[in-house]
């Protein structure tokens, strides 16, 4: 596992060296992401609690069944959201490649991969904007739920409230991730990291971006699949 460490475990806590063997900023990024994980966890668990305490719940395959440029009555559940999922996974891969190129001090590759990551993030946000807009025009918003439960009974607004709050909070994270990546791209182009002699900043931005992808794995499963 930890083949890269040269220190023996007994020496790690005896001072003069980081017991975590990472740079300060990266450790703090990990702790920030952990607190963020608890925020998202609280949202999703609250959603689960309410769903468990209600007798009926809308069928996601009935709610999320449309597709851009498709005719009005189209029934294509899971198709659009799977495209969004793959966009985010692929942008995570390009981010990993950018981090890897940064470790090799390969500026050109960092720039290309960061651009791909930013484009992936923008594509995801556009998909989400389309979906929100479509749902809004169907009458769904905070406080209004046009959809019926699975068994045809009237549904409460809990469903739309949770959907818009949680995907909105995630979308806001994607948006800040795109901004952070654009800042990283500008800094790379200005040779900031070349001057510093390392691309550790890219690694921290990368951690954040992967976390956004990670959260989507959970949001996608909780709202669209189960």
């Amino acid at each position: 596992m930890s083949t890269s460490t040269t220190v023996t475990p007994t020496k790690l806590w005896s001072g003069g060296k980081s017991p975590f063997n990472v740079e300060y900023g990266k450790l703090m990024m990990w702790y920030f992401l952990m607190s963020d994980a608890f925020t998202f966890g609280a949202f999703l668990i609250s959603y689960g609690t309410i769903r468990f305490s209600t007798n009926g719940w809308p069928d996601p395959n009935e709610v999320f069944k449309s597709f851009p440029f498709a005719p009005e009555g189209v029934h294509a559940p899971l198709v659009f959201v799977s495209i969004m999922t793959f966009i985010l996974i692929i942008s995570s891969v390009t981010m990993v490649l950018a981090v890897h190129a940064g470790q090799n001090m390969d500026k050109k590759k960092v720039v290309t991969n960061l651009i791909w990551t930013i484009l992936g993030g923008i594509a995801f946000l556009s998909c989400q904007a389309w979906e929100w807009n479509h749902l809004y025009h169907e009458g769904a918003w905070w406080g209004s739920n046009p959809f019926l439960n699975h068994d045809g009974t009237a549904s409460s607004t809990n469903f739309t409230n949770y959907f818009f709050t949680i995907t909105g909070f995630h979308g806001f994270h994607v948006f800040s991730g795109v901004i952070i990546n654009i800042v990283m791209l500008i800094m790379t182009l200005m040779d900031k990291f070349e001057q510093r002699g390392h691309y550790l900043m890219i690694e921290k931005a990368g951690l954040y971006w992967h976390f956004v992808d990670l959260v989507w794995v959970f949001v996608f499963t909780c709202f669209y699949l189960v």
């Binding site: 083949t3 890269s4 063997n21 490649l97 959970f218």
Partner: protein, 151 residues
Amino acid sequence: MSHTATHEEHNGGAVKEIVRVTIILSVLTAVELILGFWMMGMPLDGRLRLAIKGAIIILMLSKAFYIVGYFMHLKHEVKNLIMTIVVPLGLFIWFITAFLIDGNSFRNLRNTYDPYFKERSTIKVEKKAEAKHEEKKTETVAPVEEKKVVE
């Protein structure tokens, strides 16, 4: 930095690992989607449906493992760092269990002691099939408002 030591030994292997993890993540997502499509026509309280949901959650957790372990590089960090991240997240086990059981118990209590709550969940709203846009707002929003009062 740890990475100057790290990437000498798996410099060539790193890209290979990224490709491998990408393929794994795509396959896991594809399997999730296949299960999702398979589940669609099934009865709501069927045992198979529940089993598929369980399988989807296991797949979700393994995707999370690959993203955190390989993309976020946690698997290659020092044990101290792994522990300081993973151990607090273990609280989620209690967190999820306690709150879902709580929600479930709340539903049972309401179904037992609140006849109005129970009755509302058996009345079907018919107008859905033919009316797509206009009627929805008038038909379904009204009972929703009433229901909020109950809660």
